[in-house]
């Protein structure tokens, strides 16, 4: 295979080298274009990451203090005089003036003369208004304490808490501060003597809504969210899976099923507030379920999650290879048996992932809840899903609008709790998928 090479004339050599150069230049351009293209991608990712880091670090920096609460450890004198007798009746126990007992304890601890009205008042103002309830709880739980002096942890006022956490500037003029110079002096001494400390804030998880930051917590909101998520699971998963299996396995391909399919995809993109309006019209005005009930919230969120679950389930079901169905049918299984025994179990990881992601979306939703009255101040725990409740994101929204400084950290703290739930749910979804996913 002798190839005759044309003799290289100087002219053609020149043009060839020019051509080569042009090609090389073009290749170089193409390579650098590709490098730039990649760099844009990396820049986009870094940009997104930077925002994420900034978001998380600000929320964390603002919110981590919410998990600690300033607490006075006081020796409370439960003398018989305050209760009327040495063995008080339950009603005497309930009706005793615990505010007075608490105030006396703080005045004694700070060395304030209780006869000096102004000072006594100023000292009492350092305690949370909930101090009486805390002491009452301890005494009613154990009436034998009457007549003794007991060490009790009582919450400090929200202003004291904000001061300890550095949210108040001590240097501003006294008249523009929430705490006077005298009160600051007492507090400094209290910190030194160890009766005023920051303790882990269990109240943040157990209290309901409150107008005072120190006694405000996400307890009611957590229960409300839990009820709603249970209802979403009970309603949306069976409905969604049934609809998806029918559409994927049984439904004939025609105009009607096509329309349904398009509309399910559209529903997934409908703004959530629309579902709230729907819930208001149907569940509250037509069906007469009470406003603010977590049942209504759960049903509305279930409707909202339904399209997500249907789409995820259809994708999971259609990803099961036809050979599995055919094999089942081949050995004599009915269509239903092939689906319930083979297709569905294999599709479960995909269904679970879709469900959990749908639930996570529902957990963070506030807009539809506004319409059905769940953006509300609810103090009492709901005992059934028919009782008034709020949800976690709603609690965050309500605190964000409050004027007191203590609510700023609580807003961020509750956001951290919500984020923790979302992360846990998403990680569960990932683990389930990793664990049970079958590759073909």
């Amino acid at each position: 295979m002798a190839v005759e090479t044309a003799p290289m004339t100087p002219d053609s050599a020149l043009s060839a080298s020019r051509k080569n150069e042009a090609i090389r230049a073009r290749i170089k351009r193409r390579y650098s274009a590709e490098r730039r293209f990649r760099a844009y991608g990396i820049a986009a990712i870094l940009f997104g990451l930077a925002f994420l880091v900034a978001l998380f670090s600000t929320i964390f920096a603002r919110g981590y203090t919410a998990f600690q609460q300033s607490t006075f450890t006081l020796s409370v004198v439960l003398d018989q005089a305050a209760f009327g007798s040495s063995a008080p009746t339950p009603s005497e126990l309930r009706m005793a003036d615990y505010t007075k007992i608490a105030n006396r304890a703080i005045q004694q601890a700070l060395g304030v003369d209780p006869n000096n009205k102004a000072d006594a008042r100023a000292a009492a103002d350092l305690l949370s208004q909930n101090a009486d309830t805390q002491i009452r709880k301890i005494v009613t739980a154990d009436p034998s304490l009457v007549g003794q002096t007991v060490k009790v942890d009582v919450l400090a006022h929200g202003n004291v808490d904000s001061l300890l956490k550095g949210q108040f500037d001590r240097s501003v003029a006294e008249s523009r501060r929430k705490l006077s110079d005298k009160q600051l002096g007492w507090l400094d001494r209290a910190i030194e003597s160890g009766i005023l400390t920051k303790k882990f804030n269990t109240g943040l998880f157990t209290y309901g809504a409150s107008s005072k930051p120190e006694t405000a917590g996400v307890g009611v909101a957590l229960v409300g969210s839990l009820y709603m998520m249970t209802i979403v699971l009970l309603v949306a998963v069976p409905l969604g899976v049934a609809a998806a299996v029918y559409l994927e396995e049984f439904a004939p391909k025609n105009f009607i099923t096509d329309t349904i399919e398009v509309n399910i995809n559209n529903l997934a993109a409908v703004p959530s507030i629309v579902f709230g309006l729907l819930g208001l019209a149907i569940f509250i005005n037509f069906m007469g379920i009470p406003r603010s009930a977590s049942l209504v919230g759960g049903l509305v969120l279930a409707l909202m999650t339904l399209p997500t679950i249907i789409i995820a389930t259809r994708a999971a079901v259609s990803a099961v290879p036809p050979s599995i169905r055919e094999a089942a049918l081949g050995v004599g299984a009915s269509k239903m048996q092939s689906i319930t025994h083979h297709v569905l179990p294999l599709a479960v990881p995909g269904i679970l992932t879709g469900t959990i992601i749908g639930l996570a979306k529902a957990l963070g939703e506030t807009a539809p809840l506004l319409m059905i009255g769940m953006v509300a101040f609810v103090v009492e725990y709901p005992s059934t899903p028919m009782d008034a409740a709020t949800a976690l994101p709603v609690q965050i929204y309500m605190w964000a609008t409050a004027a007191e400084r203590g609510f700023v950290e609580r807003t961020a703290g509750a956001t951290l709790i919500l984020l923790a739930f979302l992360v846990v749910m998403n990680v569960t979804a990932v683990i389930l998928r990793r664990r049970y996913e079958r590759r073909w």
Binding site: T133, F168, D169, V172, R176, R177, K178, A209, S210, S211, K212, L234, V235, P238, A242, I284, N285, M287, G288, I289, P290, R291, S292, L295, M336, Q337, T340, H341, L344, P345, L370, G373, V375, A376, F377, V378, V379, E380, P385, M386, D387, A388, M398, A400, T401, A402, A403, E404, R405
Partner: protein, 357 residues
């Protein structure tokens, strides 16, 4: 799998049915409305829960005066609201809407006043504002040399030589807020008159009779400039505060109680030479204030457990007096005589007359 699956679905369906059927009698007072009234109502509800151990704590929804009144007027019944909180008086149109839905008897309870203050960042100097200054700085059209012109002012100093030489940047409540109405009525309207703008607007106004012309002129007076110097805040005071902290030369509109809680970050401006405080608002010396109300559905009194007690508790001396918890939070208390009147009104259950329209 299939048995389990079917059992699961049936359980869910049965559960749903059971919930839907259980239309329990309501034993909890439901309230909705103004976000200005919300913190006060929260305090009262909380203390109510403590004081009446056997009654449930009321549920207080936010959602704005108009939103609350709209729901309130939706009808009588267990699934309807008992009380609407409002930072303004109920409008004639709303009363008609109420009547149409069978809510005829409404008890109007005025429980205090709210001062509206203008505040700047704490690092700023002292500000002394007049309604006229605010009108000239913020209106869409202002009188200049005897004619109406599109607002030409760029800095506060141009408006009034005693004000600082900083660009005009004001954060005012958006149009859905009840506060906006007070701002228009007590500041823009007054300023319009003081600067002579109302006469010019009247001369320009179109309408078929004098009444319609006057209305059109009033409306034109209240128009706020749209060139970025005046920013509508549709959120709440926390947003206004954030805006001022990022723009230290800005002026914001706040409720007095919000200011009292953030005194270390904000400095208040005097209006017409009066510094806003509980005393000056209560005495009427400070010009920018408004009454706060809640409206009670009389048909629900005695039917919904706790409603009567809640209303009486709200208007009791323990809550409303000058050393009560609401005043501590920043409510401007009613004068003693007026408080007695309100307590009488609650006791007698006197309803709003339809003639009050």
């Amino acid at each position: 799998m299939n048995n389990k699956f079917i059992a699961f679905t049936t359980a869910a369906a049965v559960g749903m049915g059971a919930f839907a059927c259980a239309a329990l009698a309501r034993d909890q007072v439901k309230v909705a409305g103004s976000s200005t009234v919300l913190p006060y109502a929260n305090i009262v509800a909380e203390q109510f829960g403590k004081a009446f151990g056997d009654l449930k704590t009321p549920v207080i929804e936010s959602g704005g005066s108009s939103g609350g009144l709209k729901q309130f007027c939706a009808g009588v019944g267990e699934d309807k609201l008992d009380i609407a909180n409002s930072s303004r008086k109920i409008k004639a149109g709303e009363q008609e809407e109420c009547a149409k839905n069978g809510v005829n008897d409404i008890v109007e309870v005025k429980f205090g006043y709210d001062g509206i203050v203008f505040a700047v960042d704490e690092s700023a100097g002292t500000w002394k504002l007049e309604p006229q200054d605010l009108y000239l700085a913020l209106a869409a059209e202002v009188p200049k040399d005897g004619a109406l012109v599109a607002n030409p002012y760029k800095t506060w100093k141009e408006v009034n030589a005693s004000l600082p030489d900083t660009p005009i940047a004001a954060f005012i409540p958006g149009e859905k807020h009840g506060t906006r109405e007070v701002f228009e009525e007590k500041i823009l309207h007054v300023g319009c008159k003081a600067s002579g703008g109302d006469k010019l607007q009247l001369a320009k106004a179109e309408g078929k009779d004098d009444d319609a012309k006057k209305k059109a002129a009033d409306k034109a007076c209240n128009k706020v400039r749209k060139d970025g110097a005046a920013v509508d805040i549709d959120g709440d005071y926390t947003e206004t505060l954030a805006r001022i902290q990022s723009n230290k030369q800005g002026v914001g509109v706040f409720g007095l109680s919000f200011y009292e809680n953030n005194k270390d970050k904000l400095k208040v401006a005097t209006v017409s030479g009066v510094e806003p405080s509980l005393e000056t608002v209560a005495s009427g010396k400070y010009p920018v204030s408004r009454p706060l109300f809640f409206y009670v559905k009389k048909a629900h009194l005695g039917v919904i457990p706790g409603l009567k007690e809640y209303v009486e508790f709200f208007t009791s001396d323990r809550i409303l007096s000058a050393d009560g918890p609401l005043v501590e939070y920043g409510l401007v208390p009613l004068p003693d005589a007026e408080r007695k009147e309100v307590q009488e009104l609650v006791k007698s259950g006197k309803t709003l007359s339809t003639a009050a329209k």
